[in-house]
């Protein structure tokens, strides 16, 4: 993510996903390998026939190397399930990696639009249009009363999942995060931590999404999520103000040390990197670090992940090798950026 867009100091990204199934095939679980191939081919062919869709990158996920599938997962273009599944499946991706269409995931189609910052309304406009275009070429499984039919009854109706990824370090430090969770659950919103290499929750990133998909319109569901996000942003900003007024030295010290480790480490795990980058990100937002931009940090979050490092290096690396490569990449990147910023100022 570019680190731009509304509220991008706290909101990393906004994402909307639609689950759709074709009327003429069973759901994925009951598809034969032949069915999966037919679906894959049919969707591909019809996508090509839509003006503006013939420029999409089209990748056969089952034919990709493991590291390439992982790479797409790290860029959030496909789900982990899609990367690891079996049988014919693919993904279509647009040039700026904002739109992706997974074919043969849990549902025949999973359409996703992602935006930087808090921008659910334009994400909805775009995905709604894409959905209409796809639907002009494909016949969706739709029920008069239940809406779009999905493999899991938890997605039936709109088939829509709206999520916003938030960076909430100050709420974590001030132990207020649980309180936020509990109030969100009361209004039927799900909260998830961001997971890293070893599937451990990564402290400071949280994704908020709708749980209910039936009985409310798409606009109402989006309204519910986008209505609550400004309150959380406000809450996080208050916690940051509190930290900086109460204990500026300690906070500055913690952030500077985090930055120092990232600039000098010789080997570093992905968990530690995430954790330190989180501190540095808050430091940039609070003006305590001035030779980096938020976009640099967002980029580092993505590019220090395992598949990205292996692609960068050009060969497979084990955990120890990745930790060394990650540290090397961080040192070089941060030195270069720091130098550029100092030059700009001089």
């Amino acid at each position: 993510m570019r680190g731009s867009g509304p509220e991008s100091d706290i909101v990393i990204s906004s994402r909307i996903r639609l689950a759709r199934n074709l009327a003429e095939f069973p759901f994925i679980r009951r598809c034969s390998p032949q069915d999966r191939k037919s679906i894959e081919k049919m969707v591909h062919d019809r996508l090509q026939a839509i003006p503006g869709f013939n420029t999409l990158y089209y990748l056969r996920v089952d034919e990709l190397a493991h590291v390439d599938r992982q790479f797409l997962t790290e860029r959030q273009l496909i789900s982990r399930e899609h990367a690891e599944a079996e049988g014919a499946r693919s993904v279509a991706i647009d040039n700026d990696e904002r739109l992706s269409v997974m074919i043969n995931e849990e549902d025949h189609l999973r359409i996703q639009v992602m935006k930087s910052g808090l921008d659910l309304h334009s994400a909805w406009q775009q995905i709604n249009e894409v959905d209409d275009q796809l639907e002009s070429k494909l016949s969706y499984a739709f029920h008069e009363r239940l809406g779009y039919l999905t493999a899991c009854p938890t997605n039936v109706g709109t088939g829509m999942r709206v999520s916003v990824m938030l960076h909430l370090p100050a709420l974590v430090i001030t132990n207020q995060i649980e309180k936020v969770f509990r109030s969100l659950q009361k209004i039927n919103l799900a909260v998830r931590g961001l997971y890293g290499e070893g599937s451990q929750a990564m402290g400071d990133f949280y994704q908020i999404s709708n749980q209910i998909t039936l009985g409310k319109s798409e606009e109402e569901l989006i309204g519910q999520v986008s209505g609550v996000v400004p309150m959380i942003i406000e809450y996080e900003r208050k916690a940051r103000d509190f930290l900086i007024t109460q204990n500026r030295e300690d906070l500055h010290d913690k952030i500077s040390r985090a930055y120092g480790i990232l600039c000098t480490a010789q080997t570093i795990s992905s968990e530690e990197t995430m954790h330190l980058l989180s501190s540095v990100r808050m430091g940039v937002n609070l003006g305590l670090i001035d030779d980096l931009a938020i976009s640099d940090i967002n980029k580092l979050f993505v590019e220090t992940q395992p598949a990205h490092l292996q692609k960068l290096r050009g060969n497979e690396l084990d955990t120890a090798g990745r930790n060394i490569e990650r540290a090397l990449y961080l040192r070089r990147y941060l030195q270069d950026r720091g130098k550029e910023h100092r030059d700009e100022r001089n």
Partner: protein, 169 residues
């Protein structure tokens, strides 16, 4: 099969859908009761457990015999049994929403608090549910025809599929 938490026979088969992948639990009645009523603690989100809700709902009406009978119900279009759905938490085809309707509707109310879609509708293709079921059937027939190398029949079926898809039937 034995209960995963004690030595008694497992009579409840619960599929948790809250994690990354469906996760199966086999428990006796007592252990299932305490499992289903426990409160998820800590910072993890409390999400609806599909199997837990299904269990609760089935419990109301059932005797073991009735449940077994229910489990044997099979969708005529995709062949999934109610037991398989209960176990995997995923349906087999769009028609399952109709053929398992009496069990699914209360579950859907539990999850969403509603059974009436009020969002967008497809603009171009608006077949009835029956037409959609017919589409899956025709598709199967076409596959069979191609396997038998009966291409004339296959192309007839293809035309029929087109007609339904284009809303002419």
């Amino acid at each position: 099969m034995k209960c995963q938490q004690c030595e008694k026979p497992a009579t409840f088969h619960i599929t948790e859908l809250t994690g990354e992948k469906p996760h199966e639990l086999h428990l006796c009645e007592q252990c299932a009761q305490s499992y289903l009523t426990q409160n998820p603690s800590g910072g993890m989100p409390i999400q609806p457990s599909l199997a837990g809700m299904l269990h609760h709902q089935l419990k109301v009406a059932d005797t073991a015999k009735e449940l077994a009978k229910l489990d044997e119900q099979v969708c005529p279009i995709c062949g999934i049994s109610f037991y398989e759905f209960r176990n995997q938490g995923r349906l087999g085809c769009p028609h399952d929403y109709t053929c398992f309707g009496s069990e699914l509707d209360p579950l859907i109310v539990n999850i969403h608090g509603d059974t009436q879609h009020s969002g967008k509708h497809p603009k171009h293709h608006r077949q009835s549910s029956q037409d959609q079921t017919r589409l899956i059937q025709l598709h199967n027939d076409m596959k069979a025809a191609i396997e038998k190398e009966d291409y004339e029949r296959a192309s007839q079926i293809r035309d029929e599929i087109r007609k339904i898809e284009e809303g002419e039937s």
